[in-house]
C-alpha cells in the first residue's frame, strides 16, 4: 500500500514514522520526502494488509499525521496493452504478472511506484497519472 503522509507544523519534528515502525515492526519504506520546518510530506510504502494496515493508519492519525492512500499509482491502458510481458520481469516487487490466460495483471498493493515498467512498456500502455 502506498500512502502519502502530510505532517502538520506541530508534529513535523516528531519521529512519528520511526515510532510506528518500532511499535508495529512493519518496515515502512520512504519513497519520496519533502520536509521543511513548516510542513512535511512523505510518500511511503507500507508492506502490510488488513488489520495491521488499519492499525498503522490509525497510529498516524492519532499522531496528527494525515495519511492518504494512493488509489491509483499507475494507469494501465488495457486497450493499448498487448499483454506482451515486457514490463513483468523488470518490476522489482513482482507487482506485475500474468493471469492463467496470459493477460497482464497489476497488483497495486505490491507496487512501490518506481516507474521501471513505464519505460519498459514498448507501446506506452503504462502511465503515471
Amino acid at each position: 500500500m502506498i500512502v502519502r503522509l502530510t505532517y502538520s507544523p506541530e508534529v513535523v519534528e516528531k519521529p512519528v514514522l520511526a515510532e510506528i515502525i518500532l511499535k508495529t515492526g512493519v518496515p515502512i519504506n520512504i519513497l519520496e520526502a519533502k520536509v521543511n520546518a513548516q510542513k512535511g510530506e512523505l510518500v511511503v510504502s507500507i508492506p502490510a494488509k488488513e488489520k495491521t494496515l488499519e492499525q498503522i493508519l490509525r497510529f498516524f492519525k492519532e499522531a496528527g499525521v494525515t495519511a492518504q492512500k494512493f488509489t491509483q499509482i499507475l494507469q494501465i491502458d488495457f486497450n493499448k496493452c498487448t499483454s506482451c510481458g515486457a514490463c513483468i520481469s523488470p518490476c522489482p516487487t513482482r507487482a506485475l504478472r500474468f493471469t492463467p490466460d496470459w493477460t497482464l495483471e497489476f497488483d497495486e498493493e505490491k507496487c512501490v511506484a518506481c516507474r521501471t515498467c513505464v519505460n519498459a512498456c514498448p507501446v506506452k500502455a503504462i502511465t503515471v497519472p
Binding site: T82, G85, P90, R97, W102
Partner: protein
C-alpha cells in the same frame, strides 16, 4: 524428423481445400493439437485433423511497407520524403517509397518512428506527407506538403524481409548497470531474463522440416491475408533459427495486429501478428505440430558483453517452458523471466485463423518452392580491423603513490602536460586516480597527500576491448581518461579521449 511410416501421405492440400469449401475441415489451434496428441496419440490426431493453426505476435524489426503516393500536378520526382517526420526510403521510382519499421522520427526520436506510422496508416489516421526534389523537365515540382490516409495511396504493401523467427535466444545482464536493449530492460547482476517468440505456437516450430512452408504459402499477416515470399534474411535452418520473408496488402490489415513500439533508449519497431496454417499431410507433420514449449530450447545470452549476438556468452540452455514459468535459475538464484512477445495475442491469432478456415474464407496453398533447409548465416566481414585499446593506449604511464605530496604531483602533471594520473600501490596495482582538476582543487583547499583527494572507484578498461565500446563507456561516465589494467589490476597503460580522436583522425572521424 519424420520417422519411418510417418511420411506416408494421408491427405493432399487439394483434398483439405475441398473439405474447407464444404465446411467439413477439422481445424485445431496448435494448443488444441498438443492436447489431442497427448490424450489420443499422434495416429488418431493425424487421421482426424486436417489443419493446425499457429500464431505469433512480437516485435519484428525487419518490417516495412512499400507505398505508392500517386502523381501530383505538376508532378514531382520525390528524392526525399517524410511521413509524420519519419524518413521514407526514396531510392526507387518518383512516387514509390519504402518505409521501414525502425526509422526514427526526425523530431520525436525514440518516441515515434516507422512502426508507428504504419500503425497510424492502418488505423486510417491522417499522416503528413512532405517531399523534396531537385526538379526535372518531366518532373518540375520541387516541394510538396499534404496530408494523406491509407485510402489515398495507390498501393500499401507490407513487405517484411525477416519475420517470424523460429525461436530466439533469451537475454540477461551480468553487468552492474541497467541495460536498455532491443530485448527490453535488463536489470543488473542477472536481475531478470527477457525472451521472445511464441514457442509452441510459433509457425516454424510447428513445421521445422519446412514440409509445408515456402514461397506462395498463404498466411494470416497483420490481420489480413499475406503470403510467404521466401526465406527471411538471416534464415538459419541448420541451427533451428529459420525466418520468413512475407508480404501482404496493408489496406486489408488491422492495427490490432500491427503495433508501433518503442524500446526505451534503443529505438522503434513494429509488433507484427503472423499466423500460418499447417496442413496435416502425414503423421510426421502431426507430430511436429504437437511440439511443446518443453521441447523447444534456446540459450540465455549475456547482453552485458557487447559482442556480436552469436559471440555473446551463453549462460544457460533453457526451454520455452522454463522461460514461461516466470523464473529461471542462474547461479543458484531464481531470476524472474518474462516475454516481450505476446502469447495471448499469439493464441488469438491462431484462433482467428482457425475461424477463417472453418468459415471457408481462407484456403490453403501449396508452396511453389519450399524454404531452404541448408543456408547458414555469415557474420559481416570487416576488412578494416576494429581498433583495440592496446593499439591506441599510451604505455609510458606516469603514476604516483597514495602518500605522494599533492604539490609535487601537481608540478609533475604540469611539466609532462598530462591530465590523468593513476595512483598505484607498491605492486603497481591501481588504487586510485587523480586529474589535474582534482589537484587544482586540492591545492586550493590545502590538502597534503594524494590519498586524501584521489578517486578510489576507478573506471578501467582492458587492452583487448574495442575502442567503440570504450568510447561509449567514457561518454557514459563523463570522463576523459581511463587507466588500462590487466586481470590483476596492474596499470599497463592509459587512454584518453584525446588519444582516441588523434589516432583515429583520417581513418574515421566519428566514434
Amino acid at each position: 524428423m519424420s520417422e519411418n511410416g510417418r511420411t506416408e501421405t494421408i491427405r493432399s492440400i487439394d483434398e483439405i481445400n475441398e473439405k474447407i469449401r464444404k465446411g467439413d475441415a477439422v481445424v485445431l489451434t496448435a494448443e488444441e493439437m498438443i492436447k489431442l496428441v497427448e490424450s489420443s496419440g499422434v495416429e488418431v490426431a493425424a487421421k482426424e485433423v486436417d489443419v493446425v493453426t499457429s500464431g505469433t505476435f512480437g516485435a519484428m524489426c525487419s518490417s516495412g511497407v512499400f507505398l505508392n503516393f500517386g502523381h501530383s500536378d505538376p508532378p514531382i520526382k520525390m528524392t526525399q520524403c517524410w511521413l509524420n517526420d519519419v524518413p521514407v526510403y526514396k531510392g526507387i521510382a518518383a512516387v514509390d517509397g519504402y518505409l521501414g519499421a525502425t526509422v526514427l522520427s526526425e523530431t520525436l526520436g525514440f518516441e515515434y518512428g516507422g512502426g508507428h506510422v504504419i500503425e497510424d496508416l492502418v488505423s486510417g489516421k491522417e499522416v503528413e506527407l512532405r517531399a523534396e526534389s531537385y526538379g526535372t523537365d518531366c518532373y518540375p515540382r520541387r516541394h510538396i506538403e499534404t496530408t494523406i490516409t491509407i485510402d489515398d495511396l495507390n498501393q500499401a504493401v507490407l513487405l517484411n524481409p525477416r519475420n517470424c523467427y523460429q525461436r530466439y535466444d533469451a537475454a540477461t545482464n551480468s553487468t552492474d548497470r541497467v541495460l536498455y536493449t532491443y530485448m527490453g530492460t535488463l536489470l543488473p547482476n542477472y536481475g531478470n531474463i527477457t525472451f521472445s517468440g511464441a514457442g509452441q505456437l510459433n509457425p516454424l516450430c510447428k513445421d521445422p522440416n519446412y514440409e509445408t512452408l515456402g514461397i506462395g504459402t498463404r498466411i494470416f499477416l497483420g490481420g489480413g491475408i499475406g503470403y510467404i515470399i521466401g526465406e527471411g534474411t538471416q534464415h538459419n535452418p541448420s541451427a533451428g533459427f529459420g525466418t520468413l520473408m512475407v508480404k501482404g496488402d496493408l489496406k486489408q490489415m488491422s492495427s490490432r495486429y500491427l503495433r508501433g513500439s518503442s524500446f526505451y533508449r534503443y529505438g522503434v519497431s513494429l509488433y507484427v501478428g503472423v499466423g500460418i496454417p499447417i496442413p496435416i499431410l502425414n503423421e510426421g507433420i502431426a507430430l511436429t505440430t504437437a511440439a511443446k514449449d518443453e521441447d523447444i530450447f534456446v540459450s540465455v545470452k549475456d547482453y552485458g558483453v557487447p559482442s556480436r549476438p552469436d559471440l555473446r556468452p551463453s549462460i544457460k540452455k533453457v526451454s520455452y517452458a522454463d522461460l514461461r514459468s516466470g523464473k529461471v535459475e542462474i547461479k543458484d538464484k531464481d531470476v524472474p523471466s518474462s516475454p516481450l512477445s505476446s502469447y495471448k495475442m499469439a493464441i488469438e491469432i491462431s484462433e482467428v485463423l482457425k475461424e477463417w478456415i472453418q468459415e471457408g474464407r481462407f484456403l490453403l496453398t501449396a508452396p511453389v518452392e519450399k524454404l531452404s533447409k541448408q543456408s547458414v548465416v555469415k557474420p559481416l566481414k570487416i576488412m578494416k580491423k576494429e581498433p583495440k585499446v592496446s593499439e591506441i593506449m599510451r604505455t609510458n604511464v606516469i603514476t604516483a603513490y597514495p602518500d605522494d605530496l599533492v604539490k609535487e604531483v601537481a608540478k609533475k602533471l604540469v611539466e609532462k602536460g598530462i591530465d590523468h594520473l593513476p595512483v598505484v600501490d607498491d605492486a603497481r596495482k591501481l588504487v586510485g586516480i587523480v586529474t589535474s582538476w582534482d589537484l587544482a582543487r586540492a591545492l586550493a583547499i590545502d590538502k597534503k597527500r594524494l590519498e586524501e583527494i584521489m578517486t578510489k572507484k576507478v573506471i578501467t578498461v582492458f587492452q583487448n576491448e574495442s575502442i567503440d565500446v570504450v568510447a561509449r563507456k567514457m561518454a557514459r561516465h563523463n570522463i576523459s581518461g581511463v587507466p588500462v589494467v590487466d586481470k590483476e589490476n596492474h596499470v599497463i597503460g592509459i587512454l584518453t579521449t584525446d588519444d582516441i580522436s588523434k589516432k583515429l583522425v583520417g581513418g574515421r572521424t566519428t566514434i
